[in-house]
Amino acid sequence: MRGFGDLESVVMDQMWNRAGKATVREVLEDLQRTRDIAYTTVMTTMDTLHRKGWLDREKHGKAYHYWPTLTREEYSARLMREALDGSENPDAVLSQFLAQMSDEESSRLRSLLRRLSSRKGAS
């Protein structure tokens, strides 16, 4: 699962874990505790994240201060909504392990499974 774009996920993780705004230098210092990484790499990544709409920024003196545009929870909710709408929406092709069911369908499935497992137990 590792691959291109992984650093973006690491930086966003950093940004969501801290409370307020952060400069590239601050993020770099945090990241350097666990990995060997160059200033320019972090700067480029944060610039990309800004361009993609993940981070907002504001110039303070020479340096930019960055912050996440939405919380992790907001993004999660958005993705989950898209996934749950998947079977209705022809554009989002996701294969869910189990399509969302209505209460009635779900209870039918449960009674079927009960019946099958009791039959198995009896034989």
């Binding site: 996934a83 996701l94 449960r110």
Partner: protein, 319 residues
């Protein structure tokens, strides 16, 4: 002209009878791969016979064109002919109009279908890359975890492909169940099931009035789930996969407006996992589905040939 008419009749027969017949045969999920093949070939043969019909019309038109080199002049002559009330020219211009409409309709269909495939690709790739940034990584887990109260697991095609498990699903599933779910999702990705889904759904949305295409889309989706279940069963116990299905079906109720409609498919999957179809039934179904697939695959060519050779005499006016 005869060829085109016969092919259209053929596609009508397939479009009317195939959905009911195939749905009855494939619903239980015996021989899922052949089931998918039969649905795809049935839909494909209708599309193929339409394309060949358009080409046949065009060929007919060009062959009967009195002055092939001077289309403009011919047009003028045609108009003059119509004005003079010549019946032969009337037929000719009708043929021109028909061919033009048929070509336009096919072009629009291909264009829209292509566009919906591209849109699906963009959406899913974006979803995958977003999920990889938002989702949490867990050591040893070949998936990203999204915080959500619903028990959900799914896969998205992208660069790279991504499997998403919700935090609620992760908490509810034990290790064996989770492994079975992941094997199921990986089977979707390695089997490139998203391409088949996108293709059939794209046809269903653009030709939503034709039952063959809408039924094909939903049945193929269910059969792909069954194929992925089979892959999971090969690695894990059928009861483990069944248990995972049961676990994910519980939990937080689903937000209103997000109800999928494939309860029948889920019931078929559960029944099949609990009691795999006996070998004799499987063999019979394989034979039947292979025969149907062969029939619809060769159908357009056969009909076309028949029309060009034999039946031509039935409609002497057009031949």
């Amino acid at each position: 002209m005869t060829v085109a008419i016969c092919l259209l009749l053929y596609s009508l027969v397939v479009a009317v009878f195939a959905p009911r017949l195939l749905a009855r045969l494939t619903r239980a999920g015996v021989a899922p791969r052949l089931g998918i093949a039969a649905w795809l070939m049935a839909a494909g043969s209708v599309l193929a016979s339409w394309s060949v019909a358009v080409v046949a019309l065009l060929v007919e038109l060009l062959r009967n064109w009195t002055q092939p080199g001077e289309i403009l002049a011919a047009c003028v002559t045609t108009l003059q002919g119509v004005a003079a009330g010549e019946a032969g020219v009337l037929v000719q211009s009708g043929l021109v109009a028909l061919t033009a409409i048929a070509i336009a309709a096919m072009t629009v269909l291909v264009w829209r279908w292509g566009r919906s495939l591209l849109r699906a690709r963009t959406r899913t790739h974006r979803h995958a890359s977003m999920a990889r940034v938002v989702g949490r990584r867990m050591a040893g887990l070949d998936a990203v975890v999204l915080d959500a109260p619903e028990r959900v697991a799914y896969c998205v095609a992208g660069r790279p492909h991504t499997i998403v498990v919700s935090s609620a699903a992760l908490a509810a599933l034990d290790d064996d169940h989770l492994a079975a779910v992941l094997t199921h999702e990986r089977a979707h990705l390695t089997g490139r099931h998203h391409l088949l889904l996108a293709a059939t759904r794209g046809l269903a949305t653009n030709l939503s009035r034709i039952e063959l295409f809408t039924t094909a889309a939903s049945e193929v989706a269910t059969l792909l789930e069954i194929c992925a279940d089979d892959a999971a069963v090969r690695r894990h116990d059928p009861r483990t996969v069944l248990g995972a299905l049961l676990t994910l079906s519980g939990g937080a109720s689903i937000p209103a407006g997000a109800l999928g409609a494939t309860g029948v498919g889920v019931l078929a999957r559960a029944e099949r996992l609990a009691e795999p179809p006996p070998p004799a039934q499987r063999a019979r179904m394989r034979l039947l589905l292979s025969a149907i697939t062969l029939l619809v695959t060769t159908g357009p060519a056969f009909t076309g040939l028949l029309a060009a050779r034999g039946v031509a005499s039935c409609l002497p006016g057009f031949a």
